[in-house]
Subunit: 375 residues, 2 copies
């Protein structure tokens, strides 16, 4: 097992912590001796052992000596006295001979110091193996660690021409089952899902993880004027204790907010800016203080637009269906498909990059084997 | 050189006819003996020799005997007495031993008969080598040959959210230089480019091929009420003889239409349907009669929508820029970037299929090396 293979395995192990460790990062670790894997570890739950400590413990339990062995970690080992003592000291104490690190921890209290401490102890340290992959897996944590602000992922499902509903308001379903499954996978990746009051009124969503296995994230509703129904699923289901509702300062002390608060909803107030929008920076600060390091913004359009206009969207997932709805003023303006069934449907032939743009080719009608290039 | 390699070469040769042979198909041909290439041919200009005849002539000129040789053609050889006599007879007369065909000609007067004639003459015929690639290269011709209706390619450049202009109307340029170059390449591929009167008024386009080498296609303007300016570039430039203007029956005999007709514009009338739209089926019939087998519909939104709503779009090319403009009622409704410079810009991280949908991931801000997965 070479360095890249070992780090690849550590990346896989790290995923086991998804949904259980935040605001800590998910981290994976393997230990090899003479190129043979002797132990694996991962950060499995918030407050539990770090990946490095878990791997060292696994080696000890298996009776595998680690003196002179190589330890791989997707993230730089911590050197600060956290819940469990610094990993760097455990690594040094165990006699590890070489440490290979994927990403340097952007938390200002680590940020290279972990590597330095190991080197000062005479351990050979290599950094940057599968760096891009490790940084990608850790991007939400790294952003939160560096800025103190939750990492924002925006998600939308739209037609080819950017419409999110037919003329009759129908939006279920623009995207197909695979896309909806991926959207649930995104929910599993984040600490919280956020929607606006209009979405609560219109769709009454549950915002839970259903189409894949895994824990459901917390939920955040932005509702300046307390327009949401007290009977919305987010407020009455068994997961209602996971719901935060942000409203204006005046509404936060009102009757409706009080009723929700009594049934377990966490009511928060934020200053309202022009146009009755809540101050998003303030909302994000409060959510960060609750240990929410990543947020999936699911809509609606006003909420998505506000996040984007304030340059708060770190990552956008756009599911594009091969149909045109022609709402609004876009590419197929005037088409205005009254119902979803009326939407002209095509099928995607190919998609590729065109400079900074995408070049999408769609062909007439639904998918047919005969029109496929590679059929 | 095996069958696939020889057919690949024939496909490359066929491209040399692009823009010069319509409404004939572009076709490429190679002849091999004992696996060695001995002659190449392609259909170079409308009325000129077909690819097979050109290849046979090239072999004769080079003094290469072709008796028993293998002939590869991207399209089934014709068996009808066209401008030059049937290719099947030339192939039989030359003593070719084996013929390999990419696509069967969907023209009802060929459609397998060419292959049958060759087989009846004792020639071994194989069909379907690189069939998908040949069908793709010949798709416009095949559609026209089978249906008598021009193949319609729609093209649009839009923001992530399907907007085609900023709030101030500015649409230059949403897409980048590479995308605009590809759009010019598309123009070179078709017999005509079609726009609506609004686009003529707003953009005053030339619709010529400029960013790549090649002949400019003919141009078609749909203008029910003769709203276009007589001084529009399409009507005054040196290519004005290539311009067709379709208008209502009443306008077609009016003063404005007459003035354009005198300066060389081809005025056509078509019945108007509801909402002052010209009957597209009628327009396409007239264009087909002019030998126009493929049309690139470039806009505006109303024209694109009409084609799509009537199920007339065979192929859609969508250039998507990594920015949001928020016009209309789409994914970022309410964003409404007043000018192009205000549009929030992201960069594409990845794109892939998600069932029948596309899954596009864009990241914050313009492209930076550090955020790239594969940097």
């Amino acid at each position: 097992m070479n360095d890249r293979e070992a780090m690849q395995r550590a990346l896989e192990l790290a995923l086991r912590g998804t949904g259980h460790v935040s605001p800590n990062p998910r981290v994976g670790c393997v230990i090899t001796r003479d190129g043979q894997l002797i132990a694996e570890g991962w950060h499995a739950r918030y407050g539990g052992p770090h990946a490095e400590a878990a791997a060292l413990a696994a080696a000890a339990q298996a009776g595998e000596p680690v003196a002179g062995a190589t330890l791989y970690s997707t993230l730089e080992p911590c050197n600060h006295q956290g819940k469990r003592g610094p990993c760097t000291q455990a690594i040094i104490a165990a006699g590890i001979g070489r440490v290979v690190v994927g990403a340097i921890d952007k938390n200002p209290i680590v940020d290279g110091v972990g590597v330095q401490v190991l080197r000062d102890a005479g351990i050979e340290v290599e950094t940057g193996v599968l760096r891009a992959e490790c940084e990608w897996q850790l991007r939400a944590y790294q952003h939160f660690a560096a800025t103190g602000r939750p990492y924002i992922i925006a998600k939308a499902a739209q037609s080819l021409d950017g419409s999110i509903a037919a003329a009759n308001g129908q939006s279920k379903w623009i995207s197909g089952e695979e896309s909806r499954t991926r959207a649930h996978r995104l929910r599993r990746e984040v600490d919280a899902v956020l929607v606006g009051a209009t979405t609560v009124k219109k769709d009454d969503p549950e915002l839970t993880v259903r189409m894949v296995e895994g824990p459901s994230p917390r939920r955040v509703v932005l509702d300046t004027n307390m327009d949401s129904s007290l009977r919305a699923k987010l407020f009455v289901g068994p997961d209602r204790f996971k719901t935060f509702l942000f409203t204006s300062e005046s509404q936060a002390s009102g009757v409706k907010a009080n009723a929700l608060s009594v049934s377990g909803i966490k009511i928060k107030s934020a200053p309202a800016t022009s146009g009755d929008r809540l101050d998003l920076e303030n909302v994000l600060e409060q959510l960060a203080a609750e240990g929410i390091a990543s947020i999936l913004v699911e809509g609606g359009a006003q909420v998505l637009s506000s996040f984007l206009a304030q340059d708060l969207v770190d990552e956008l997932h756009l599911f594009v269906a091969p149909m045109a709805l022609g709402e609004g003023k876009g590419t197929f303006a005037g088409l205005g498909a009254p119902r979803m069934e009326n939407a002209p449907r095509m099928h995607f032939h190919s998609v590729g990059r065109s400079g900074e743009d995408l070049h999408i080719i769609a062909l007439r009608g639904p998918r047919r084997a005969a029109t496929e290039l590679n059929s």
